[in-house]
Amino acid sequence: MAEYLIKNGHVFDPVQHIKGDKKDIAIKDGKIVETSALSPAAKQIDAKGKSVMAGAMEIHAHVAGPKVNLGRWYRPEDKLFDSHKTPGMTRIEGGKSIPTVFKTGYEYARMGYTFAMEAAMPPLYARHVHEEIHDTPIIDEAALPVFGNNWFMLEYLKNHEIENNAAYVAWTLNQTKGYGIKIVNPGGTEAWAWGLNCLSVNDPVPYFDITPAEIITGLIETNEYLGLPHSIHIHGNNLGNPGCYQTTLDTLKLAEGFKAKNNFGRKQVMHQTHLQFHAYGGDNWGNFESKAKEVMDYVNKQDNLTIDTGNVTLDETTTMTADGPFEHHLGGLNHLKWANVDVELETAAGVVPYIYSPDIKVCAIQWAIGLELALYAKDPMRCFITTDHPNAGPFTRYPRVIKWLMSKKARDERLNTFKHTDKVIAATTLAEIDREITLYELAAMTRAGPATSLGLSKDYGGLKPGMNADIAIYNINPDKMPSDPEEIEKAFSGVACLFKDGKICVKDGIVVDNGNKRTFWVDVKVKPNKQVAHDVKEKFLKYYSVNEANYSVPDSYAPHPYVIAVDATQ
């Protein structure tokens, strides 16, 4: 394989605490190596006046699987006037908020991303998820199966059977080629089958007679019993409602007293996703306000938590989540269209188009909350930037979110041109925040941080010799930061150069190689468990619409796997 030497670039790497110093980065056989290990034949890449970072890692996005595809089916208008072929080797790209798999891969790569986590995989439809992952070029991907409303889990955790629940989780990760434990509206989606919901962590789930709090702590214990690379990944109860920050604090407090047990360098026991949707005060849409400070004050104190922001980008988008009751509620608010999928014993999903209009007060406040969260974060290694794609906005808007975070001027320009600017300023604290995220902090929030949270910090998220050669070079010079914030957005929209596994995949914003895409999944070994084996067999006989043998994802669905082995038999 080719050898490269990236010369004279300003390196930003939180792993080695390099804050923009000029340093050469050497690549050999897909890995970063010491410069002395290169042969004289190594190709030189001049990165003078540019910034060099590890490939960015997306920790939470809905980019593959049945609900994404449901969005594509029922929103043909999302591709209206937006199905294009750019010159070069790429295939046709289409869609704005629910792009085709090809566009998904290309766009992430153009922005310097090399990994994306599909945030909610219904185990029953795991094959579909892996088919789409396989068809997404360049970027590595993994998927989190959803467990928060699963019948097996509800029955085991009701009786606090952690060992059985762990055996079931291990079996499911193996069957679905999944990465970790995702929880969406714990208990609430199941309660919705009875026409109810769980709006606090103490609302009992009908029939199963378990509370969201018991589900969450039970799954934390399960996760740490198994020692998975990632912690539980939670979208809590009561998302998106005025006053929901109380439920959020109650949810976060459940992690108190738990310590991470794993061999992957992960420190947190709970990852709270798209916190923006969970940081609302007020008790109706009229007095709706930001509680970002209250929530972040708590997160900053507790070092066993990580979060991602879920920034609203003020676009027309498509919301989609396994929180079925929420989508039904949202469909009733905006009267556009609503679709729902029920996934047998496991979960459900809803899809509703949504327009975050700068002329609507609530949308503008949501925009401000997302930015406040990142700006209040004391430890950028525990706060990651997402748009909960496509829920708060398409991931293709990351450069714009970065612009707002890095430039107070850009933020103020946006804040002062809303239709209800005064009300937005009164309901938030964004106008008082002077902080501008630095390139070093950005590297932590988009690279080293997510890699550590996902348990991938050994090989990803940094530029240390020995790590994987996923490297992005941006046209931004830290010595001469542009005075025009638009230049920041432009620089992060198209990388000067992207290496994926030591191969150049994007050059000057143009895709030049489809890379060696891999599917990450976690294979956990547990002690044989007769009880769980019996339960699985029984549930398939009694309830599932498929046979147990037709449930698992065959190896051919993930032909380029990166399997992380975990031994939980000790």
């Binding site: 929103r75 043909p76 208008e77 209206l80 009267h335 269209k337």
Partner: protein
């Protein structure tokens, strides 16, 4: 106002996508520049110059530009799409999407138009001297933004699914209409001088449909309220006012629910 005349020199074998035939794209261009504008035929890239002889030149802005099309344009799609000002006159029939998402100016088709014309129209004037196909003034497939503003006048008949998801503006049909009129409408006004087949105002939230002729069968979600005298498009007459669709949600204004209305000439 300056005039550009496009005369068809060869009919396309498939269909020609003419989204560049608008005063907005032509503005500030000379005949030879207009001839170079791209157009698709199937998957092939071609130019307007391949299919049209182009004479005259465009004005400096869209508002100062008039486009006249001569010859058979019945296999030309997207003429006048998204135009904001100026004038387009087509001396023949046209294919789908004519006048889609129009924002202003005037578009005249002296023959028939096919389906999906005037989709999501926001403003301006669209005159069809012949008949129109289905989905006139409706929303794009899947979208909820049908006709928002402007006026469409059809001298002949219209097909089915006219003004689905209409939110504003006005459609006047001097002939008859087929099934599904103003489905899901949340505003706007439709006048039909002739007869309508059936299914008028299904899931209608707001808006008005005025029918001079007969409705084959009134939807069960509509209820007769009272007789009213109206002047519609220059004609004074007495109409039976119906409200509905009673099975659909309805917004309230000053405590009173707002309904969709069908006025049927007595």
């Amino acid at each position: 106002m300056k005039t550009v005349t496009l005369t068809v020199k060869q009919a396309p074998e498939l269909y020609l996508e003419c989204e560049n035939i608008t005063p907005d794209t032509f503005a500030g261009k000379k005949a030879d520049e207009i001839a170079q504008l791209p157009a698709y035929q199937g998957k092939e890239d071609t130019t307007l110059g391949e299919y049209f002889t182009i004479a005259g030149e465009a004005g400096a802005t869209a508002a100062e530009t008039q486009i006249i099309l001569k010859g058979d344009c019945s296999k030309m799609k997207y003429i006048g799409i998204k135009m904001t000002a100026g004038e387009v006159i087509v001396n023949s029939s046209t294919d789908m999407y004519t006048g889609g998402w129009m924002k202003g100016g005037k578009l005249v088709v002296k023959g028939d138009v096919h389906s999906f014309c005037g989709l999501g129209m926001e403003g301006g004037e669209f005159l069809i001297e012949g008949n129109a196909g289905n989905y006139l003034g409706a929303s794009y497939r899947g979208d909820w933004r049908g006709m928002q503003g402007g006026i469409i006048r059809v001298k002949g008949n219209v097909g089915s699914d006219v003004c689905t998801f209409m939110n504003g503006g006005e459609l006047i049909v001097e002939g008859n209409a087929d099934v599904h009129i103003a489905t899901h409408a949340e505003g706007g006004r439709i006048v039909i001088k002739g007869d309508v087949n059936r299914r008028v105002g299904g899931q209608m939230v707001k808006g008005e449909v005025i029918v001079f002729g007969k409705i084959g069968l009134m939807m069960p979600g509509f209820k007769y309220i009272k007789d009213v005298d109206l002047e519609v498009d220059g004609t004074k007459a007495r109409f039976a006012e119906h409200i509905g669709d009673l099975g659909e949600r309805h917004p309230t204004r000053k405590g009173e629910p707002v309904y969709g209305k069908i006025f049927l000439k007595k």
